[in-house]
Structures are given as C-alpha cells and as structure tokens.
C-alpha cells in the first residue's frame, strides 16, 4: 500500500500544450502575413530596406505556415491530448512506469529539435519542394525517430492498462500513428543528390542535405497526393475525431450517443479514406480510372464522416441548453458542424464537373480552411480548455473571454470561407470563359484584379481568427498562473470557469 494515492501524471501533456499554443500562434501569424501578401503584394517586400526580402516573400513563408500549423500546432495538440486522454481511458498513470515517462519526455525534446531544424531550414529556403513534405532527408530521419518514440509510448501505455477494452478514441490515436507512419515513409523515399551520378558522369552533386524523390513524373504526383490527402485524413481528421469522442462526452457528461456507430464509422473511414487522394489529380496525366476512383471514394467518404459527426451532435440530445450556457461546448458543437460541412464540401469539389471549375482556385483554399479553422482549430482549443483546469488544478480564468473569442473566431472563419468561395468560383469561371472562336475572354491579371476585394476580406477573416487565438493563449496562461484553485470534485464533467 502506498501512502500517496495514485494520480494521473500530466507532465508530458503540459509540455505539448505549451508547444500547441506557441506553434499555433506562430503558424497563424505567418498565415495572416501570407493572406496580406496576396491582397497587398507590397507586403512581400516589407523588410526590403533591411535587405530581408528573401525571408518575407510568399514562397519562402508558405511552407512555414503550412508546416507550422500542421506539424507544429496540430501535431502538438494531438500529442498533448494523447498524453492526457490515453492515461484516463486506459486508467493507468504515466507515473507508474519510469520507462514510459522517459519515452514521453524524450518524445517531446526530440520533437523540439525537429521543429527547430525544420524552422531554420525552411527559413533558409532549404526544401525538397514536395508540398507538406518539404523537409530534407536528415530531418525526415529525425521525424521517424520522433514518431517511433511516440509509438513506443502509445503501445507501452496500452500494455500496462487496467481497462480491458480500448475506448474508441484510442482506436483513432492508433490509426493516426500507423497511418502517418506509412504515409510519411513512402512519400519521403528520397535519394541524397550527393550519391547520384549525372548522365555526364558527374558525382557528388549538390549539398549533402539535398535530395531528390525516388519517384518521378506521374508516379511522384500520385504518391505525393496519396500522402497529401491522407495527411489530411490521419492528421486533420482521425486524431481530431479521437479528441471529440472523448472531450465532448466528458465535458457534457453524456456518454457517446451510439458506440456501435462509432465503431462502424471508424472502419468506414479507414477503408475509404486511403483511396480518395486521386481527386487532387483530376484532369492530369494520372490514368482516368484512377481519377474516377478518387471521385467515387470521395463521395462515399461522406458516410463515415457524417457517421461520426452526427454521433457527436446526437450525444448532445436532451442537453442542448449546454450549448447556450457553456462556451466550451459551443466550440465542440461548432467543430462538429464544421466537420460535417467540410466533409460535404470536399466530395462536392471532387466531382469531376465541379472540379473543372474548382481546381487550382481559391475555393480549394477556402475548403481547407473551413476544415482546419472550424474543425481542427476549434476542437484542439476546446480540448486544451477542457484539459487546463485538470492539469493545472485551477479554474478556467475567464468564461466571458472564451465566449468573445468564440464569436470573433467564428466570424473570422465565415469571412474566410465565404470570400474564398466567391473568389474561387469567380476565378474558375473567368479562366474558362471564351468567345465563340475559343479565344480566352480574360487574361490572368484580370482575375487578380477581380479577386482583390475577396483577398482583403480573407486577410481580415484570418486576422480575426488570429486575434481569437491570442485571446485563447492569454486565457490559458492566466488559468495556469492565477486561476482559482479547484478541488477534484469540481472536475467531474463541466469544466469550472470564472465569469
């Protein structure tokens, strides 16, 4: 018998909460700068007088934005919630295993090293030029080490659990681990140029850290978009579903509406998602049947996606007053709604005839952002809001600040996606317009001029979301430092929050 009762140990969860907030702020700030550059090109050269043009132009900053929100903000959020939810639903504490605690801390510090290497190399313009897979081979190897460390932690914790069955969220975390592992490895198969020989017989080409993809041409595109789309699947969908399956029931005090539906949706998502990536390559050199398959599977994907989303909304059955009273529930219900919305919008865009207008336009950018800002961002922030009182043993600092943040960010998301809808469809129609002889009616610059107002609205929408994110960061910081201390009994379901 121990003298001290066993408690969950949130040390590693707290570390990742910190990086979620920091990298989220950095990634979203860069996003707002990029949006401003699109609306006002002069922003590209804002530090020109200091000779720093290279570091502020769109092409240098764009991968920093995408990678810091995907691999910084979202991944940190996934890790933070794993080290929280994992212990709780398996009913085992990290404190019970020195090895798991060591692996958890190692996971965090290796992750920080990779983040630092990625930020520095991308700022220097060192990139493999593959979208969302820009890191060069030494960083890729380090990413694999970080990922394997996380995997050891996951399966280690599962190995010492007290609960026989794995809660549905654990299934989704495992799928995240396995899915990303497979995707990342295959898409980043690359050969350091220093090992290559040119047709002229030159050897030792380029810097030691440069590489070329092992695939070429259409094959490279196929692997790239199998990866790209499934990075959305296993980075932006699967782990976020893991979060909502835990945090919404826990915060609302209502068990998930149908556990059977959650199992069914899980397998549906696993089978269908991996085939949908072809929709990124419609009207390209990829075989036609593969394009059709991408479209068909994208449409089928509505079913498992809506299965989870409807399950979440039905979990609130009979408890809808909580949406009005709790800003935390508001975030999660809106996240679930945005999930439904973007998983309907995506399949619509994947239909060939719609894609003929939508492809390469800002509508796609709008789609990505209603998913990421409305679903991923809202859910991760809600998860951290729920975790904060429990890991810091303090009341949430301000409910009204949280409510204000919710409305500011919702307005931001709405401005973002509506402006991009209009911009995208305008762009698509203008590109296609032609006279009776087939001459194009507009030149490219005509579309740029037409889109300027919408780009400005998008930048304002992004700025509102960023302001909301700073409010979130402040609220979490104040909770941590000056929130009222709470007793364990106050933490059963709804999170305690000061007015």
């Amino acid at each position: 018998m121990e003298n001290r009762p066993l408690e969950y140990d949130y040390t590693v969860a707290k570390m990742f909460m910190l990086t979620t907030v920091l990298l989220g702020a950095v990634g979203m700030l860069i996003g707002v700068i990029l949006a401003s550059e699109m609306a006002f090109p002069g922003v590209n050269t804002m530090l020109g007088s200091l000779g720093l043009n290279e570091f502020t132009n769109f092409s240098r900053l764009r991968p920093l934005h995408t990678d810091s929100v995907i691999f910084g903000f979202t991944l940190s959020g996934i890790f933070a919630t794993w080290y929280y939810v994992g212990q709780r639903v398996l009913k085992v504490s990290m404190a019970e295993s020195k090895l798991l605690m060591f692996l958890g801390k190692m996971h965090f510090w290796l992750y920080i090293l990779v983040v630092a290497a990625a930020v520095v190399s991308l700022f220097m313009g060192i990139t493999s030029s593959k979208e969302y897979a820009e890191f060069e081979w030494p960083i890729d190897i380090a990413v694999v080490v970080v990922w394997v460390t996380w995997g050891l932690g996951i399966f280690g914790l599962i190995g010492i659990r007290r609960e026989r069955s794995l809660y549905i969220s654990i299934w989704y975390y495992i799928a995240t681990f396995l899915g990303i592992a497979m995707l990342y490895l295959f898409n980043n198969m690359e050969i350091p140029t220093i090992l290559a020989t040119s047709p002229a017989g030159e050897t030792g080409i380029g810097a030691w850290y440069h590489s070329v993809s092992m695939y070429s041409g259409t094959n490279d595109a196929l692997v790239q978009w199998w990866y790209g789309h499934n990075a959305v699947a296993f980075g932006f969908t699967v782990p976020i579903v893991a979060m909502i399956y835990y945090f919404l029931p826990k915060e609302s005090g209502q068990a998930v509406y149908s556990y059977k539906l959650s199992l069914l949706s899980f397998w549906g998502l696993m089978f269908v998602y991996l085939w949908a990536g072809g929709h990124h390559l419609l009207f390209s050199t990829v075989p036609d049947w593969m394009q059709t398959m991408g479209s068909v599977f994208s449409v089928v994907l509505i079913l498992p996606s809506w299965g989870s989303a409807i399950n979440m909304l039905l979990t609130m059955k009979g408890e809808w007053q909580q949406v009005a009273t709790s800003p935390l529930i508001k975030f999660m219900v809106l996240a679930s709604t945005f999930y439904m919305f973007s998983t309907l919008e995506g399949p619509i865009q994947a239909i060939k005839s719609v894609n003929a207008i939508a492809h390469f336009t800002d509508w796609i950018v709008g789609h990505v952002h209603d998913g990421t800002l409305g679903w991923v961002g809202f859910m991760i922030m809600a998860a951290l809001f729920h975790m904060a009182p429990r890991v810091f043993k303090r009341e949430l600092y301000s409910k009204s600040l949280m409510g204000t943040q919710f409305w500011i960010q919702t307005l931001g998301v709405v401005l973002y996606f509506t402006s991009m809808w209009i911009a995208g469809i305008t762009q698509g129609m203008m590109w296609r317009a032609h006279d009776e002889y087939g001459n194009l009616a507009y030149s490219f610059i005509d579309t740029v001029t037409a889109l300027h107002p919408y780009y400005t609205i998008r930048a304002v929408g992004g700025l509102l979301y960023l302001i909301g994110f700073f409010m979130f960061a402040y609220n979490i910081y104040k909770t941590m430092t000056s929130g009222r201390r709470v007793e364990e009994s106050e933490l059963q379901s709804a999170s305690p929050m000061a007015a």
Partner: protein, 66 residues
C-alpha cells in the same frame, strides 16, 4: 481473357467482398447486442468514469489488485 478483363473482375470481386464484410459487421454489432451476448454501449462509459480509482468497465483479468 486478357489482364485488363481479369483486373476488372478482381476489382469487382474485391469491392463486393468488402461490402459483404461491412454489412456483416453491422449485422454482427446489432444482432450480438440483441441476443445479449455483447453490450457495446457500456464502453461509452469509459470516457465518463475515467478517474484512476473508478472501476474499469471491463477489468483485465490478470490485474488482481483491488
């Protein structure tokens, strides 16, 4: 029969098989609950009763403590 035709039949067969597996799974979920052999909905409580001293929904048998 050339390779493309064979591919076509194999693809159709695979899709049919997967549909059968999916529907069998749905049938299994609902029928086993109806027969009383399994109660899936109780697992939803794993999220609600998740304090470290809460009783597990299903205890691991080799765990003799408590």
């Amino acid at each position: 029969m050339d390779i493309f035709q064979l591919q076509g039949y194999a693809y159709f067969g695979l899709v049919t098989l997967m549909v059968v597996i999916l529907y069998s799974y749905i049938y299994h979920l609902y029928s086993s609950e109806k027969k009383g052999t399994k109660d899936f909905e109780k697992y939803g409580n794993m999220a609600l009763n998740d304090e470290i001293d809460d009783a597990p929904v299903e205890k691991i048998s080799k765990d003799e403590k408590k």
